[in-house]
Amino acid sequence: MKNRDEIAQGLADCGYIADTELATAIALMQLLKRPLLLEGEAGVGKTEVAKALACVHGTELIRLQCYEGLDQSSALYEWNYQRQLLAIQAHRGDGASAIEDQIFSEKYLLERPLLAAIRRERPPVLLIDEIDRADDEFEAFLLELLSDFQVSIPELGTIRATTIPHVVLTSNNTRELSDALRRRCLYHYVGYPDVEREARIILARIDGTSASLSLQIARMVEGIRKEELRKVPGVAETLDWAAALVGLDVRDLHDAPEAVHETLMCLLKTQEDRVRLTREVAARILGKVA
């Protein structure tokens, strides 16, 4: 078992500031060989976990973005139809079965993320992003693949995994996932980071911030998250905002209330929220930031 402090340190070296629970989860992924299901609000950095994990292992990140109507051919494999048609034309007269043997071979197979993930020499990190957007049928299919790590291609036979990838699934909870899928996975709920961790994230990711400025930004964002907003800003928004402030050469939020107000668009992504967070409200929140 790799020590969870080592894992946390490794993630930090890759620019991801994890809490100890997430480090435990990643240690467990390796120990129990289970996929990790990350759930949480949009923008809390679920996808980043997979990227950081790939960086820690020094391996490739293969990403499958899920969407409604995603099917096996876009997720697993597809035949290269153009080449197949050309080959059929070129070998006309060879007899149907000879042509068939030829065109349904590895040469004409196009790997999609899932097949690619199990055929790598070195186990990659397989990120199955926003699994809640895929249909139930796809979820069921995925379950089968993740338990057996083998794929059967009717024309070609069964392809067994060369390596077992580190699988990370993310969900924004727009649809209830099946118990079967949840049961197979380790579960981690990613919440908004606390002030201290968010400040560390800013410090790690944005060049030119000072410890005091990143703490101020984190506190300010925390205050804004407590307001009644339609779209609560996530960590990605915080980082955008921090970058904007640094770009405007802001050293201390209190010295530049005007710049703070003008850059709030980095955090607030709907007109309603922009209207709600008036200059006065922003000033009130800023007032509470030490």
Binding site: E21, L31, E39, W79, Y81, I88, I164, R184, L186
Partner: protein
């Protein structure tokens, strides 16, 4: 999984002392009783964790178990308390320790509704506007006693609030469930008929045309993806609706089965997510669980506030572009009617259709003059009566077109 490095070492697991194993089994049982998804694989992995040295550090063990056995946010939030209570002997709120109470314990809003119903009535002013069952002559008597279809037909036109005889109420429930079943079958059939493919399936086309030298003579079509409609029902369970709620609950329970994606909410002064109870297989049990919530909660109806809660906390999760929201309410708003209008507008933006069913609409001489319904109507796609089984049946063609 032999290809993939060392998994849990079962010999080590055997080394875990019997005492610890017993405690562990008891803990996993407690989790199971509290609604966690703990199966054999989790039992095995939990034991593997103990053997792998996690047992020596309680905080680490807690975190590891938490990831292993949690499957959703409520589990995640509840786990620490249960762990501490079991292993560290700390006190935990008794509610979460009650075996079998998983659903109500998982759902704080459900709990609060229950509290509301235990407290009894709120302000009763609204209920006064609705004639009570006593005003209407109970429709008992000879003709109701006939067997078979005619009995159902008679029942079909009786206003739900006039059903006083427990027998008749039971019959109405049966009929509502039957109606839901018929609608379900028909809707499924229409759905299948509509689902004819039109896109070319290249893989199968090439397969079929190899013998033609690759010239695509026989075309294979790709089946169109089945995209189910999601139905979200918001049922008014306030005092003024009390005569209707139980039949509606039964009807909705039946209909929800068809819509593979369906969510149900109850509201009066607050909103409660009741999909779990609605999906209970046994209709009678589902009704029992819900009727307790629906009855006695009769106070004012804060439709606007309930919708606000819905829009803010549930809408993003339960509504997508192919969602139909069905609101069953008489529209008597005791809260802010302007708020209701605003929230309806926000809701209309999100979903495909809003259907408003109003039992009062079937009454003679009724006009939608209550402030609430007036504010809501501009955003409603279908405004229909729903006071008899017949009026419920009339909804079918509309639902089929969604």
């Amino acid at each position: 999984m032999s290809c993939c490095g060392p998994g849990p070492d079962f010999e080590e697991i055997d080394a875990v002392s019997r005492l610890v194993a017993g405690r562990l089994a008891a803990f996993l049982r407690t989790l199971r009783d509290n609604g966690f998804l703990v199966g054999l694989a989790e039992d095995r992995d939990a034991a593997a964790l103990m053997a792998a040295g996690y047992a020596a550090r309680p905080s680490l063990l807690r975190s590891a178990f938490k990831h292993l056995v949690s499957a959703r946010k409520p589990d995640w939030d509840k786990f620490d308390g249960l762990f501490d209570a079991f292993w560290l002997g700390k006190r935990v709120r008794s509610r979460s320790m009650i075996a079998g109470s998983a659903t109500s314990a998982n759902n704080p809003s459900l709990k609060s509704l229950q509290e509301a119903s235990e407290r009894g009535e709120g302000d009763r002013s609204v209920t006064d506007q609705v004639p009570s069952a006593d005003d209407a002559p109970p429709a008992r008597g000879g003709e109701g006693r006939m067997e078979g279809a005619s009995r159902a037909e008679n029942l079909a036109e009786v206003d739900f609030r006039k059903l006083a005889d427990p027998d008749q109420v039971a019959q109405a429930h049966e009929a509502a469930a039957r109606l839901a079943k018929v609608m379900r079958t028909r809707l499924t059939r229409r759905d299948l008929a509509r689902r004819r493919g039109h896109r070319l399936d290249l893989r199968r086309t090439i397969h079929k045309n190899i013998s033609h030298g690759g010239v695509p003579i026989v075309l294979a079509k790709r089946q169109r993806k089945d995209k189910p409609l999601r139905l979200v029902v918001l049922l008014d369970a306030s005092g003024s609706m009390s005569m209707y709620t139980s039949v509606f609950l039964r009807f909705i329970h039946g209909v929800l089965d068809e819509f593979r994606e369906a969510e149900a909410f109850l509201f009066h002064t607050r909103l409660a997510h009741v999909s779990g109870a609605m999906k209970e297989r046994d209709a009678a049990r589902a009704l029992d669980r819900l009727s307790i919530l629906a009855q006695g909660a009769g106070g004012g109806t804060r439709i606007g506030e309930s919708l606000q809660t819905f829009n803010r906390h549930h809408a993003a999760r339960v509504i997508h572009s192919r969602s139909c929201v069905m609101i069953v309410s008489d529209g008597y708003e005791t809260g802010d009617a302007a708020l209701l209008g605003r929230e309806m507008a926000a809701l209309a933006k999100r979903c495909r259709r809003i259907v408003w069913l109003n039992p009062m609409m079937g009454w003679q001489g009724y006009a939608p003059e209550a402030r609430g319904i007036k504010a809501a109507l501009p955003h409603v796609d279908l405004y229909a009566p729903a006071h008899t089984l017949k009026s419920l049946a009339a909804l079918e063609p509309y639902l089929a077109r969604l």
